[in-house]
């Protein structure tokens, strides 16, 4: 039956392999070279310049600003998204009314085009025609913003102190339902006996969540965390569309992805942009490996 198997193997592998090598592997490999050149995209003779791009990056305030913004997202977006979605998932698995309806609604932002969401939210935040500012006025929340040191309700995307938070909030808004469905699937795999036994012993719902649900969800939580971390290092489409490619007031929402796009496709500094991309890749890889390692071994089986 396997006599002529190579007559099948070779033609079946060829198209996938050819496309993959040409459009994925070759560009990744070539980037590792371009990052060490001063290429501006015009001349055929590419000048090798060693570590000059990386030295320049070290002294580039805009690079540090963009990296800082990625780290700000990293500090609150994964925690907020996972915390909220875990909470929603736990409540929806507790036999509440309309749980099917809630599940459908909560997941929907995940299937909407991220560009449509970005444009929509940039108008929700819009200072003159947006809906958020009038809503907060109706709820009489202006004094709260004075307390926080703003002069009334801020201009959201127009204010460097709030712009980044506004974009981050959209990420949480979009992603919470997705992670919720992920967690609900894992929660439904936990045998009901565990909860029943705990209930007989007089455990409260809070205890069940912390002592049963959370430890048994560990693997799913790790996967979700990695997903969310990768997201915090991307942020490209929302940033581009919510700030119309201007990266907010004073680059307040500029991230590495948008900065390297600007360096490459607006300023034609292809070598430098690729060096930023290489650094971005190494950082994402390091952080992913560290967080996977740090959360290992605590897995429970059931």
């Amino acid at each position: 039956m396997y006599r002529n198997k190579y007559q099948l193997i070779i033609p079946f592998l060829f198209p996938a392999l050819a496309i993959y090598l040409t459009f994925v592997i070759y560009p990744y490999g070539r980037s590792m070279y371009i990052a060490f050149t001063s290429w501006k995209g015009v001349s055929a003779n590419i000048q090798f310049n060693g570590l000059a791009n990386f030295e320049r990056m070290w002294a580039d305030a805009n690079f540090w600003n963009a990296l800082g913004n990625n780290l700000k997202y990293l500090a609150f977006v994964p925690l907020a998204t996972i915390g909220l979605s875990l909470f929603l998932a736990f409540m929806l698995t507790q036999r509440v009314r309309f749980s099917h309806f809630y599940r459908i609604i909560f997941f929907f932002p995940q299937v909407m085009s991220v560009i449509a969401i970005g444009v929509l939210w940039s108008y929700v935040y819009h200072p003159t025609i947006g809906i958020l500012t009038p809503l907060l006025r109706i709820l009489r929340l202006e004094p709260l913003f004075n307390l926080l040191g703003f002069d009334g309700i801020p201009a959201w995307m127009g204010n460097p102190r709030t712009a980044l938070l506004c974009v981050g909030a959209v990420v949480v808004w979009q992603g919470a339902g997705f992670f919720m469905v992920l967690f609900m699937a894992a929660m439904q795999d936990i045998p009901a006996d565990y909860y029943e036994a705990a209930a007989l012993d007089g455990a409260k719902r809070g205890d069940m969540f912390w002592k049963i649900t959370l430890p048994l969800l560990w693997e799913t939580l790790r996967a979700a965390a990695i997903f969310s971390i990768l997201g915090a290092f991307n942020m490209f489409p929302l940033t581009m569309v919510m700030t119309n490619g201007q990266r907010g007031p004073n680059r307040a929402t500029d991230v590495l992805a948008t900065y390297l796009y600007e360096q490459a496709f607006e300023s034609s500094r292809f070598g430098y942009a690729t060096a930023i991309a290489v650094s971005l890749f190494l950082m994402v890889l390091t952080i992913s490996v560290i967080s996977m390692q740090a959360t290992q071994r605590q897995t429970l089986e059931y």
Partner: protein
Amino acid sequence: MRYDQAGWLSRSITNIVLALWAIIVMFPMGWLIFSSFKTDQEIFFGPWALPESLQWNNFARAWSDARIGEYFINTLLVIVPAIFLTLLVASMAAYVIARFPFPGNRVLFYFFLAGMLFPVFLALVPLFFLLRDIKLLNTFSGLILVYIAYSLPFTVFFMTGFFRTIPSAFHEAAIIDGANQYQVFFRIMLPLAKSGLISMAIFNFLGMWNQYILPLILISKSDNYVLSQGLAFLSLQQRYENDWSGLFAAITLIMIPTLVVYIIFQGQIQKGLTAGALKG
């Protein structure tokens, strides 16, 4: 499950939190749909009022003047062949990797898997110049090839797992009945893998539908814009022209088909997307 005295209170809190989040999720979309039926004056002066009369011409303007119709067709012209070819090419490779032992089989599997490790930003610059050099910038075929290429790692990975679960008895029976290897694949294996193919079609559809960075660098002629790109461009333009009602109508037009598809297939979509996340 038994509830104690505090059960009533905690259930009320649960219901309030869930309802509140449902409002937060639906509110911007509801506002968008109402606004897309209003005039610009109504949007500006009465954010809370219902539209006085339904401005259907907002949608006509968005569809033709703002070219949403053209972008829509462009998107379909790219996505439909890209998904079809991704499924075909990836299934062929996955089938061979899953069911035929040959030297380098494992290595090849991990080689495809490695593609998921890298952020697409790392490839942008060489990819742009590669497509320029082979004269595929600004073409649908260029974008289709690139979409297939970046969908391959996960689709091959997923389909390999899928083909491994199909019992080899099917295969052997078909060979005994005189089918050749190609017939076995196209007539037996692909139909058996249907549910995996549907999951991957949904997964890749949403990925390609949402794709923004790749068309942004590979398509610069506005005649060839895809939807995500066209909408981003429109949003930038409307900032100066202030045709808000037209822009809202455009976003609604883009949202409606997704909403319809989602309501019909929501079970499969949720399963497909989250299974993708877990196994990835």
